[in-house]
Symmetry: D2
Subunit: 361 residues, 4 copies
C-alpha cells in the first residue's frame, strides 16, 4: 500500500503541507556506504526553487534541506549512508499570512479543493495544503539520493513544448538547457517562449507544457514483468506529479501511426555489445531496460490558478465565481523538469535494487 | 513488491506462459457475498478471444475459465464469493508444435526476447513465453470480477485510432462498438479500417492503435494522494499492457497546448449535486475522482511480428536477419480494448476498497 | 498488503479450500536458473502427507504436485526456473461426501467457524474450507523451492514436546528424526509418546505440542531492521501456521529469567571468523543473522476436533453441544514439523533476496 | 516491503538514531476527522520516558513530541486529522559527549554491533545508533494515534515477570499498575521486584522480564487469513521490539500441554451475543478476532549492557574483553510495557482498516 510512499526497495515517503511548519521525506532502503551530505542534494533543489525568474512563482523559499538521520562518517571521515532511513526536512519560511476564507469556501476549478473535501470531509486550504506542488521539493531531494545509487547513471530533462509551441528537435542542445529559464534545449524556442509566456503572465493566464526526461547509463535488465515493468513504473511516477495528464515512452503516441517495419528498432553488433539503430522503444522492451537511453515524456496541464473568473460552486452547494490572485507559476511545466528527472531517477534506483534482489550482482 | 501482482487490496496475481499447460490468476481481497460463477467471466473472455475475425490472430483458444476456489453457495444456493482467494485457470489448448529454434537464437526487434534473456539468462521462446499477450486473458477474467465489486460501475472501451486513421468523435456511438470487429464507435471509421487493415494484413505488416476506456458510476473520492493517485494507478495499469507506449487522462497531451481558461472544468449545481461543464480532467482532480466519468486513452505500438525481414543479432552476438511467420494480430490494439477495460475496472475496484479502508462506507 | 501472500521478494500466494477441486500456490520472485522439477518438491510433501501412521489423520491424499509455469529447459536440457512465477497445483482427491449440516450450523469451539462467519457472512464448512490445515501442503511445496534459493542452507525440524512430555535435549539425535512417526530426535521420548498418543487417540481426545526448527548455513547479515527483523518475520511465519499459539527464538521465554551475564553469547575468534560460545540469541542480534544456526520453537494447541461434546452456539444464536467425528490428527503438532521447516526456509530465502537488494552480493 | 515501516493501511515509518539530531515517524493512512493534538500523544510518551525511577536509565530525555503535518482545524476549530500523513518529531537533547571508540571497535555481546557492521559495513556506535531502544519512543507516539482510530478500543499492559519472579495472577489489579515503577498489577510482587532489581542494579547486572498486553473492545472479525492473521501480525509487532525473544497468544506455550477438552473455549449465549466460558484462544480463532479480549505476552531478554566484562572480538578480528559502563536500564522489560501496548494498538488499528476495506462498515 502506498498513500504517500513511492518505490518498493528504494522507498520515498513524503509528508507536509504547503503552509505547515515544514515538509519532509524519509528515504528507506538506500544502500550503505554512499557518500552523502546536504551538498549532494541542495544543488538539485536550487534548480527547482521558485522565484528564480519572472516565469515562476514569486514565493521565496530558500528550500534548505537538512539530513536528520541515516548518515555517519566512515573510516576516512567521509559522511556516508548507513543503510538506515534517511530523513530529510525543509522548513517552510515564506508562508505569507493571507485570507484563505474564499478558497476555503469555494472550489477552484482544476484544483483538488473539491475532491479532497469530498474524500476527507476536511482540507487545509492554505496554499493548497497537501495537494500543493510544494511537495515536489521532497521528490527532488530524494531523487538526488537516487542518482547516487546506480553507478554510471545520468538523468537529464528538458522542456520540449510550452503551450502550442514545441522545440525543433534538430536543434536539441543539452548544454543550452542551463542557459535559459525554461530548461529548454533549443535556444530559438526559448526566445519565443519568453515572449509568449510574458503575455500569458501579464494576462493572468497560464499554459501547459511537455517535458522530456532521459536516463543514460541504465543497465540492461532492469524491470520486472508483468506488473512491475520499468515503463509501467515510470508512467506511475510521472503521472503522480501534480498537473500531469499524459505520459509516453519512446515513440509514445506517435507509435500508434507507425507500421511494424518503421517501429522496429533494428540491431547490429557494436563495440560494446548490441547496438540499436533507433530507439522507438525508449530503451525498454517487454518492460525491461535494453541498455539504450530510457526516454519518457509527460504533459502538464496549464496552471489552474488564473485571474479570469471561472464558474464554480461552494462547499455549501451555492454557485459562485472565483479567480485566483497571488503568486503562481504561469506555466508549472517549467519547474516540473527537475521533478520529472527526480522521479525517473527514483524509479531506476528502485528497479536497480529489485533486479539485484532477484538476479544478483 | 509486485512482479506479477497488480493491485493492493483487490490484488491480481497472474502466472503462466503462452505455451505452458495453462495460464491462471489468483484474485485476493475480493469482498465476500458477491454472486460469481464462470458465467460472469466467460463473456468478457469471449470478447477478447483470438480468431474471431481475420483481423486478429488465428490461434484458436476457447479460453474456457474455471473457478478453482473462493466461492461457495449462500443460504439461497447462489454461488457467491467467500472472501478467500479466487483462483482462475484457463488451459492452453492450441499450442501448435513448431520449430522455435530460430526465435530461441535470434532476438526479434520490438520483442522482449533480448531483454528477458539479458535479465534472466534464460527464456521460454515458445510463443513469447511469459511476455506473450496471452497473459492478458487473465486480466480480462480478473476484470470481470472487479466490475462486480463497485456498485453501479460501468466500464467500456473503444478503439479510436488505427494506424494514422482516427475516428470522428462527433459520430461516437457506443452501440456501434459491438457491430464491427474493431470495437469501433464510429461505423464509418470501422469501414475504412477494415480496408486499411486488410492491406496491412496481406502485406504481412502491422500497425498501431489508440484505445479509449471510460468508467462511469465511479464514486467521488476514490484515489489516495500523493503516490496512489487514481490517475497514477490507471497509468500504471494501462502501461503494463503489452505494447503500450503512452497513456493519457482526460484532455491528456492536448492539455499542454490549452490555456488555463480553456482547460478549467467549470462547475454549476445540478439536480444531483455538482455538475461539471466539461471534463478535461478526465474525472480526476488531485488524484481523486470527481464523480464524472473517468476517461483514459492509451497508445499501442504496431505488432512487432512482421513478415519483412529486420536486422537483428543472435544471443551469441552474431548479426542476422529475422522475419516472423505464423499467426499474429496485424493490430494488437484491437484485442487491447477489453484488456484496457479490465485494467481500468481493477484499478477502480482496488481504490474503492482503499477508500473504504481510510474513510469508511 | 497480504491476505494470502507471504514474503516480499520471495513471495508465496496460496489458494484453495480443503474440499475444493484443488489447492495451489504461486511462487513469485524466485531467482532464475535454479534446477527445479516436481522431484525436488514431492519428497517434502510426502513427509507431511496424512495417513502415514495411526497418529495422523486417515484422510488419504496423494498430494501430487504439478508445476504449471515458471520453468524451462536450459542449454543443457535441465529444467530450471526462468524468473517468472511458478504455479504449483495439487488436486484434492479424498473429499468424502459427508453431511456438513451440523458443522455448517454450529460453531465448533477452537475452530474458525464462528470467526469466518462473523467476518465474511459466509464460509465453506466442508473440511474447514480455507481454514483447514490442508493449505499447509502448499507451504511445504513452496518451502521446497525456498530451500534451493539460498546456497548452503539446511533447514531441519523436530518435535520436542507432546502434551506435557518433553524430550531430553541431551539425547538429541537428528538421525533419529526419520525413524519414528513423530519427527522426534529422542528415541526414548518417541516410545513414550507412542504410548501416550495411543491413549489420546483412542479416547477421541487430542493434545498439543512444541516444535523446534533450525536453519544452518544462514549467511550473516540477513534481516532488515527495524520492522523487517529476521526474528520478527520468523515469528510472523510460524504464528501464521494453523493452531500455533506461541513462538520463541533462541533462549526464548527462558531468557526472561536469565541474568545479563548468563544470557550474553560471548565471542572468540575461530578458524572461519567469529565463534560464539553459546547461542541464546538463536542466531539473530538486532534482527540480523549472526551466522550461527537460527533456532526457533513454536507451540501448537491441541486439535480442536474431539469426540467429547463441548458446549457451543449455532449461527442462529441457539445453544447446542457439539462433538467432532471423522478423521483427525490427535496431535496436529506432528505434521506441523515440515510446515514449520518450510516457513523458516521461506523467510530466510526472502531475506536473502532482500539483503542482496540493499547490500548487493 | 518494510525495512522501517510497520503496518499496511495504518502505516508507521520511523527514522532516527539514538544520538542524532532527532527521531521521528510518519503515520500514513490515518482516517480523517479524528481530534489530534500533542496533548493526545504526550501522556503516553511520558509513561515510557527514561529517568523516572532508579530502575530505568538515567538518561534525561523530555521526549517532547511535535506534530509537523496532517492536522488542521475543523469547522468547530478543533484540530483534527486530515487524512494526509502525520509527521511526528522528537528532538534528542541528552546526547552526552562520550568516547565511543571502544564500542566502535569491539562488539558488545547481545548487542547489534556485530550484525549491523557485518550487514552494512558501517554503523553509528553512539548510543547504539539505529538499534537503540530510543526508536521505541516513536512507536509509543504512533500507538497513541492508533488508539484513537478504533472506536471503543482499550489497550493496557503489565509486567508479569521480572527475572525468575512472576506475579500471582490471582492478585491481578489493573489499578495497581500505575502505583509502582514496574507497571506491575500485583502490589506484593512489585515490592519483591523492587528489592530484587535493586540488587541487580547495584551489581551492574541485568535481568529479563515478561510483559502481558491486553486489548479490549476489539470488534469481532478483524484479521485476514491466511497470511495476515491477527495473531500473526501481533507476533510480528511484538517480536520487532528490541530484546524480545518470545511471543505468545492466549494460553500460549502452555497450550501445548493441554488436552483438547481443556483447551476448548466453550460458548453460551450471553446478553450481547456469544459468550465464551474461557479465553485460551486469547481472543483470536483462525487468525480472526472473536470479540473477546485479545491477550498476548512477550519475553524480553536481560539488558545486554552490564558491568561484568564479557569475552568478545573486535571488528579487526582480535579477541578482547568488554564491559558496558554508563546509563542503562537494569531491566529493559519495564519500559517495554508501553511499547508493547502501542504495537498492539497499531496492529489492531491496521486490521480495523483492512477489515473495513474488504467487508465494509
Amino acid at each position: 500500500m502506498s498513500h504517500n510512499t513511492f518505490g518498493h526497495l528504494f522507498r520515498v515517503t513524503t509528508w507536509g503541507e504547503s503552509h505547515g511548519a515544514a515538509i519532509g521525506c524519509v528515504v528507506d532502503g538506500c544502500p550503505p556506504l554512499i557518500p552523502l551530505s546536504e551538498a549532494d542534494i541542495q544543488p538539485w533543489l536550487d534548480r527547482r526553487r521558485p522565484g528564480q525568474s519572472k516565469f515562476t512563482t514569486q514565493r521565496r523559499e530558500p528550500d534548505e534541506v537538512r539530513i536528520m538521520s541515516g548518515v555517519y562518517q566512515d573510516a576516512d571521515g567521509t559522511q556516508v549512508t548507513t543503510g538506515t532511513p534517511i530523513s530529510l526536512v525543509i522548513e517552510n519560511v515564506d508562508q505569507r499570512s493571507k485570507d484563505y476564507s474564499e478558497i476555503a469556501r469555494s472550489y477552484r476549478p482544476g484544483h483538488a479543493d473539491m475532491t479532497y473535501e469530498t474524500k476527507y470531509g476536511i482540507r487545509d486550504p492554505r496554499g493548497g495544503g497537501r495537494s500543493s506542488a510544494r511537495e515536489t521539493a521532497m521528490r527532488v531531494a530524494a531523487g538526488a539520493i537516487a542518482r547516487k545509487v546506480v553507478p554510471g547513471l545520468t538523468v537529464r530533462g528538458a522542456l520540449v513544448q510550452v503551450g502550442p509551441h514545441a522545440i525543433d528537435r534538430q536543434r536539441w542542445d543539452w548544454t543550452a538547457v542551463g542557459d535559459n529559464p525554461f530548461f529548454c534545449p533549443d535556444p530559438q524556442a526559448a526566445e519565443k517562449w519568453a515572449e509568449y509566456l510574458d503575455g500569458v503572465r501579464k494576462a493572468g493566464s497560464s499554459t501547459g507544457a511537455v517535458i522530456e526526461v532521459v536516463a543514460e547509463g541504465v543497465p540492461a535488465g532492469l524491470g520486472a514483468p508483468i506488473y512491475a515493468k520499468l515503463d509501467q513504473d515510470i508512467a506511475s511516477a510521472l503521472m503522480s506529479i501534480n498537473a500531469v495528464k499524459g505520459v509516453e515512452i519512446g515513440a509514445g503516441f506517435a507509435a500508434a501511426a507507425l507500421s511494424g517495419e518503421d517501429n522496429a528498432d533494428e540491431m547490429r553488433m557494436g563495440n560494446d555489445g548490441v547496438r540499436f539503430l533507433s530507439n522507438n522503444a525508449g530503451g525498454i522492451l517487454g518492460g525491461i531496460s535494453t541498455g539504450q537511453p530510457v526516454v519518457a515524456r509527460f504533459a502538464v496541464k496549464p496552471t489552474s490558478s488564473i485571474l479570469t473568473p471561472r464558474r464554480t460552486v461552494t462547499r455549501d452547494g451555492e454557485e459562485a465565481d472565483i479567480s485566483t490572485k497571488g503568486r503562481h507559476d504561469p506555466c508549472v511545466g517549467i519547474r516540473a523538469v527537475p521533478v520529472g528527472e527526480a522521479m525517473l531517477a527514483i524509479v531506476i534506483a528502485d528497479h536497480y535494487l529489485r533486479h539485484r534482489a532477484q538476479v544478483g550482482g
